[in-house]
């Protein structure tokens, strides 16, 4: 067999794209899985909006959907954590990761491909949810702001990619994902996504304000021009800054951890 030549970087990207394309073929072979992935957050949104919306105290002059939508956008990015973890753990447990590692492809492509595929999936899911928001009357104030908000949301998703990869490689067990999935809702509730931290007991409110999800959601509300909860604390006052800082910190920490773990699979 004749194989193609190329530099290491070229192959890292080309192989990464090939690995990502595997997920795109999954979408084509199992379109219902993709549809369900888009519909699930929409259903949660509608349930929260119509069932609980009337009971939740919202900032003066806002309706609950205006307030809820940025929270749901953030939640959806958080759900990506278990999505990445399950994909990585499944490949590791089924020997697919080992097959890749025994092949003359770029080793980094396994992680790069996962990142590309999951980010594309999140773009799709977020687009579906944005459309749902527009349908129920949520409106961003400016296009520029909206693009900024979407960028910050995807930045959070990008950081959680590496956390998901780390956890997937660490457990190598798709069953362990249940634990992470179970934690996603509490983490989401313990933020400003659904209710105001100010209404929580003091210490819970403080944890909730420092939740990275809160920073992203508050920054998204600010950039979308949707009314937020405000809040006097430093972290609430610097939401946009923290919506950049938190994901960068998470990315750096878990990128290093997951790459190290991947390289040490041969121990």
């Amino acid at each position: 067999m004749t194989t193609l030549e190329g530099s290491r970087l070229t192959w890292a990207l080309a192989d990464g794209w090939t690995v990502a394309r595997r997920d795109l073929i999954h979408w084509a072979n199992q379109p219902m899985t993709v549809v369900f992935g888009v519909v699930f957050p929409v259903m949660i949104t509608l349930a929260f909006g119509y069932l609980f919306g009337g009971a939740v105290e919202v900032p003066a002059g806002a309706d609950y959907f205006t307030f809820l939508m940025p929270g749901m956008y953030g939640m959806t990015m958080l759900f990506g954590l278990s999505a990445t973890m399950i994909a990585v753990a499944t490949d590791a447990s089924k020997g697919v990761t080992d097959r890749f590692r025994s092949m003359p492809m770029a080793p980094s492509a396994v992680l790069i491909g996962r990142a590309i595929a999951d980010l594309l999936n999140s773009v799709l899911v977020l687009a579906g949810l944005l459309a749902c928001g527009l349908a129920v009357g949520w409106r961003p104030a400016t296009l520029q702001g909206a693009l900024g908000a979407v960028a910050l949301l995807l930045l959070l998703r990008f950081s959680l990619l590496w956390a998901g990869m780390y956890l997937g490689l660490l457990t190598k067990d798709p069953g362990a994902v249940v634990a992470v999935q179970t934690l996603e809702f509490p983490i989401g509730f313990l933020s400003n996504a659904f209710v105001a931290p100010g209404t929580m007991p003091g210490w819970l409110g403080a944890i909730s304000e420092w939740n990275p999800l809160s920073s992203t959601v508050a920054a998204a509300r600010e950039l979308f021009g949707n009314q937020g909860w405000g809040g006097d604390s430093w972290v609430a006052q610097h939401a946009v800054l923290m919506a950049v800082v938190w994901p960068l910190v998470i990315t750096v920490v878990f990128f290093v951890l997951s790459v190290r773990l991947y390289q040490r699979l041969d121990r």
Binding site: M1, Q30, K94, V96, D98, R101, M103, M105, D266
Partner: protein, 312 residues
């Protein structure tokens, strides 16, 4: 020429040795069987030879490349069919092979052509996703994925564990075809019969060490070859029957009172069987069952470990 070479290969986890210094010499174009029970170190050896695991000591070469210092060259020279079926179950057979072809850096057209060729060769023209495949088909797809670059050395880690007899025969046929085409194969197995069927040479591994090495025939001769089993109807005549069987056998007869079983190794199988049948009939001992059989793996290990560790 040596296709796979290992010298004093070791892998330790803490103070536990998974591989306790093994040597291997697999000639080019031959089949080497690593035979041993679960936990003997077979998979550890394969994982080191396929660059998935770093050895703690010793050295190994595959297709002339060192597994620790030249992993990329090794990966270009090998195919690995691991214990699990490592194919994407959502993808069709064709999509799997094309994907792996691209990752082996065949161009798009070459990957497509190679996939086509392998699908035909391994009888995998089913259109649906791999999860619809039977166990045997999935293993063949796995084998095809390992053969994309037509590598000179192929590693098969328990290729037929969990397969039904028909699928097992299919895999054996596929492996024989590959070997006929010049591929060197290193396979691990728990089944003596499988090693006997496929391997030119067998290394018996136990507790991370090679306890015996040789051609299947040489090993069998060393282990006393086949065994003759007789089930006696009347327990009172067991001792007498043991005497008759022992007289025709190449080793001492073992007696199990509970099952009224007499068993002994025989070298000349047909002659021993004829002698024993005639002697039993002459003595008027009624046998419920008489059978010639291969020694079980248990007996191989009992024999090898009792004999003071064989080669080492």
């Amino acid at each position: 020429m040596t296709a796979v070479l290992a010298r004093d290969l070791r892998k330790t986890y803490g103070d536990k040795a998974a591989l306790d210094g093994i040597d291997l010499d697999v000639g080019r174009g031959t089949v080497c069987g690593l035979l041993g029970p679960n936990g003997a170190g077979k998979t550890t050896a394969v994982r080191i030879l396929t660059t998935l695991l770093r050895p703690s000591g010793g050295r190994a070469e595959v297709a002339g490349f060192d597994v620790t210092s030249q992993p990329r060259q090794v990966r270009r020279s090998i195919g690995l069919v691991g214990q699990q079926t490592a194919v994407d179950e959502v993808l069709t057979g064709r999509q799997n092979l094309e994907l792996f072809g691209r990752l082996y850096h065949l161009g798009a057209a070459a990957a497509r052509a190679r996939a086509e060729e392998l699908l035909e060769r391994f009888g995998l023209e089913h259109q649906g996703p791999a999860k619809e495949y039977s166990g045997g088909m999935r293993r063949r797809l796995d084998l095809a994925a390992g053969m994309i670059l037509a590598p000179p050395v192929l590693f098969l880690d328990e290729p037929t564990t969990g397969l039904d007899p028909r699928s097992r025969a299919e895999i054996w046929r596929a492996v024989r075809d590959l070997v006929a085409g010049g591929t060197t194969v290193l396979l691990t197995t728990q089944y003596l019969e499988e090693a006997d069927q496929l391997a030119d040479r067998i290394s018996v591994i136990d507790a991370g060490r090679v306890v015996a090495e040789g051609t299947p025939d040489a090993l069998k001769a060393k282990l006393g070859g086949d065994r003759l089993d007789v089930v006696v109807h009347d327990p009172a005549r067991l001792a007498e029957a043991a005497g008759i069987v022992g007289g025709a056998a190449s080793g001492p007869a073992e007696v199990d009172r509970d099952t009224r079983h007499v068993s002994a190794p025989v070298s000349e199988r047909v002659q021993a069987l004829t002698e024993v049948l005639a002697a039993l009939a002459a003595a008027g001992i009624e046998a419920e069952d008489v059978a010639l059989r291969r020694p079980t793996l248990d007996e191989v290990f009992l024999n090898l470990t009792n004999a003071g560790g064989g080669a080492r």
